[in-house]
Symmetry: C2
Subunit: 252 residues, 2 copies
């Protein structure tokens, strides 16, 4: 699939809008993605106005791509629509639990990736923003997300201003296990990460951050334990507040 | 993207193996998918032997596609490989928390969907199995998944024996929100679900199950509250046992 082989994340965009009809076609195509029991447990919120993008940028830690992109798509795990349908049809929905959150999150993320590829096939560039999980409650408030709706992916979309280089990836065998999971020996880790560690760009990254190893740049600078723990609690709180974990905590 | 427009889930397969090299190419293409901080927080376990498929079938509630498919792919959220790398590089990993599970699950699910489309582009058919989350602990045991590895998707892959009809989908506007989430009125729910409820196949489904409404088939037969709550607790337990939620419970 050349589309996959040649893709790269795009963070800088031309100042060009995306045709509204094309955006809906992209989304329509993505709805062909597999979905649990054909329930389609996702929603996508489209933000295209400067006002929205400026308001949302700080929640995404002011990543430039948010204001520069033609559109910011926020993809949500959504059991609200389905639950409402059940309620209006004399059926007793039972989706206020963690499994239902995971089920809807799976639906939403598979949908998000189809949507991204359908956009890229049309010459658009995309970038996923992990910040959507860090600050989930702020997005819930901003978008007025009702109970049983939680954001799981945010994607900036626009016409690429540049063609960035393709980043490295681990050798394919790093992610493949035959029959059973074969845990990694130190020798295997050394071999699988050697190319990444030898890249000039990554060596510069280590020295710029005054670290000994590339791994330390991740643990001490980019994805720190304290931040992860803070955002863990916040995301769990958001999931709970949105009604997906009533049995763990009776505060609501 | 015609690949998306024309796709349908395939549950019946020809008795034909998948070329091993092609399978690895499919996976290699899928590794081009966006991944958090280029950490590639996923693994895929390939099961192709009759022995494995027979052993795994009951864990997937004996869905026929498991034994019939040429391959069963189990995609896992995986922070183990990255954590090991950190440990071998004098870096202190901080990924034993819920946010890290979600981050790895996002990586794994985006990867799974790229992999599925890359397989479909080659004429293969795929089917996602939600059972992988219901019985996560059994898969963890079967595959020997180490700490910080949790299955999030299972996909059967094989050459289609038939071309099943495309299932219905909600009108695209059902999943799209402009600027803010606009909650659904009863009238909107009626309009969005009318086509689905009017399908002969779904009407038969209602009468065969002796129900009043299609929604009741979901709430009372297919995705029941009691099952969801049972599987919620089990999946949370599995996530906790795999080390992704140390702060919620000190049993380990």
């Amino acid at each position: 699939m050349d589309l996959l082989k040649n893709r790269r994340t795009v963070r800088a965009y031309e100042n060009l809008p995306i045709d509204e009809k094309m955006m809906l076609e992209i989304i329509e195509e993505a709805t062909r993605t597999s979905t649990t029991g054909n329930m389609q447990l996702y929603s996508v919120i489209i933000s295209t106005s400067d006002e929205d993008k400026k308001a949302l940028a700080p929640l995404h830690f002011n990543q430039q791509c948010v204001t520069q992109a033609a559109a910011l798509l926020t993809v949500c795990a959504d059991y609200n629509r389905f639950t409402k349908w059940c309620e209006y049809r004399n059926a007793q929905p039972g989706y206020d639990n963690f499994l239902s959150f995971i089920t809807a999150a799976i639906d939403a993320l598979l949908f998000a990736q189809s949507l991204s590829l359908a956009a890229e096939e049309r010459g658009l560039g995309i970038c996923y923003l992990g910040t959507v999980t860090y600050n989930a409650q702020a997005f819930i408030d901003y978008f007025n997300l009702p109970r049983l709706v939680v954001p799981v992916a945010a994607i900036t979309v626009g016409y690429p201003a540049t063609e960035p280089p393709q980043p490295d990836r681990l050798p394919t065998e790093a992610v493949v296990h035959q029959e059973k999971y074969h845990d990694y020996s130190r020798e295997q880790i050394d071999a699988l990460y050697r190319m990444k560690e030898d890249l000039a760009e990554n060596k510069r990254f280590v020295s710029e951050n005054n670290k000994e190893t590339l791994a330390q740049v991740f643990t001490d600078v980019r994805y720190k334990k304290n931040d992860n723990e803070l955002f863990s609690n916040r995301y769990l709180d958001a999931i709970r507040k949105q009604g997906f974990m009533p049995t763990k905590n009776n505060e609501e």
